[in-house]
Amino acid sequence: MVNRSEIMIEAKDLVYHYPGEEEPSSPALSGINLAVNRGEYLALLGPNGSGKTTLMKLFNALLAPSEGEVRVEGISTIDEGRITEIRRYCGMIFQNPDNQLVATTVEEDIAFGLENLALPPAEIRKRVIDVARLLGLEHLLLQPPHLLSGGEKQRVAIAGVLAMRPHCILMDEPTAMLDPAGRRDVLKTVQGLNREQGIAVVHVTHFPEEAVFADRVIILNQGRLVRQGPPENVLSDLPLLHSFGLQGNAVVELAALLREDGFDLPPQLIHSRELVHYLCLSERKS
């Protein structure tokens, strides 16, 4: 099993300026110190422009830090010769499912990353089939991507990353463009991979309800890491969320209203199951 205390990705005193915007007043990211542990599910919350996507790109070596450093499995992301290795360890899923599928059929797309690793064709075919089976995509292997639903496209993208046997999957708002069914599919897939295969996940999202199941939640605002902790601590802190223009998830918002109306509810309530439990308790008491 994976050793969850081991560090997988580490950012040290990370600063990033976008080229051409080098005035020191407003870097895209500044003073980020963050470690992602092996097998951890990390949710990254923050308003638009808070630097979430930039951070993901730094983790995947798509961007090089302006100051400080990022290490993936101990390899610095500015080590040109080992960038492919970093990208194999840290797969990335983007927001728009249409713009990340490269090939004309699903199987060729899943194979794309493996072809880049220059694996032998027989090995590629074996891995593609294994991954497709794992994610329930076998029946789609010969389909062209434009005939798939949004959720299917996103799962194909996940399969493409998974085939490379990553240690971590970075997801940049993977559900933002999906319908509710597609969103559920994608989240279930990722959570399953995290639990069963011990693959670490860094999940960037706008939606606190998607962060509820994370091991740790981090809030970014204006390029700074403003809060981190277990979801029940961070997500139940409504004043904090609201101050960054974020909403609490439905349970947290509802619990807050109930408390205003005099219900006696414990402070760190984020799961609907818990809320129901406490409401039933107080019902029985009265």
Partner: protein, 265 residues
């Protein structure tokens, strides 16, 4: 609509011709074309026409696809026929209208040229109808490989063409969406002169270009994130294997070419 878009002219099937290696298929076609132009006699040409018709039946591609492919050459054929009929002299005079005559040699040559053209198109269609655009792309890319030595990035060119094929349906969907959005706001793409209609396409083309550039940007990032690096060694999931029977096909067509040249068919 977008579901019915077929890329290229590929008609799926499992025949031997479908399964032939695309590189050797292209090469064999080139040899056949050379053969076609070396043939000088009716029996030789008729033989080749019979062969192509026989091959067509084994592919199980409906014949109307071939007829559709022949349609564009109809006027060329008609034009050639007229030229040959009226301007080639020799043989018996068959028809005389004023000072213009149609002579037997002209008729013979005219029909020969047209049959040759039809056979040529049928063979070409046989290639494009039984090979997926992607295989064709990679097949052609293979023959461009020598150009690497003069600095042409042939692997990358093949990748460019494959991505273009991937995005044609996506962009068509998008253009239809844009069109509907414009129509719903009162745009009119259907009436008026050609000039007017072309002009009304401008508000369609600009956003389409903008979005295509944005897509390209994101796609490039996604490709990089998945380890694609220009100039790096890549392998392919489906190896381009050449079966002995593929070589046999090429050998047969080369033999036919040699035979026709030596026997003067």
């Amino acid at each position: 609509m977008s579901r019915s878009i077929t890329l290229g002219q590929y008609f799926p099937g499992r025949s031997l011709i479908h399964r032939m290696n695309p590189r050797l298929k292209i090469l064999s076609l080139l040899v056949v074309l050379a053969l076609l132009f070396s043939l000088q006699t009716y029996p030789g040409l008729a033989g080749l026409l019979v062969i192509v018709l026989a091959m067509i039946t084994t592919t199980r591609v409906p014949f109307r696809y071939f007829l559709k492919g022949l349609r564009p050459i109809f006027y060329i054929a008609l034009f050639a026929l007229v030229i040959y009929f009226f301007f080639t002299s020799g043989g018996v005079v068959l028809l005389r209208v004023g000072f213009i005559t149609v002579e037997s040699e002209g008729v013979r040559e005219g029909i020969f040229v047209i049959l040759r053209l039809v056979t040529l198109v049928l063979f070409s269609l046989l290639l494009t109808l039984t090979t997926t655009p992607l295989s064709l792309t990679y097949g052609l890319g293979y023959f461009l490989r020598p150009l690497r030595y003069i600095g042409l990035p042939t692997e990358e060119v093949a990748m460019i063409m494959a991505i273009a094929l991937r995005f044609i349906p996506t962009l068509m969907e998008e253009s239809q969406r844009l069109m509907r959005a414009q129509v719903s706001r009162g745009a009119d793409f259907e009436t008026g002169s050609i000039f007017r209609r072309a002009k009304s396409l401008v508000p369609l083309i600009v956003p389409l270009f903008v979005s295509a550039f944005r897509r390209a940007d994101e796609l490039a990032l996604a490709m990089e994130a998945r380890g694609y690096r220009i100039g790096a060694l890549r392998t392919r999931m489906h190896e381009d294997t050449i079966a002995p029977r593929d070589w046999a096909v090429l050998a047969v067509v080369v033999a036919m070419l040699v035979a026709s040249l030596t026997l003067g068919l």
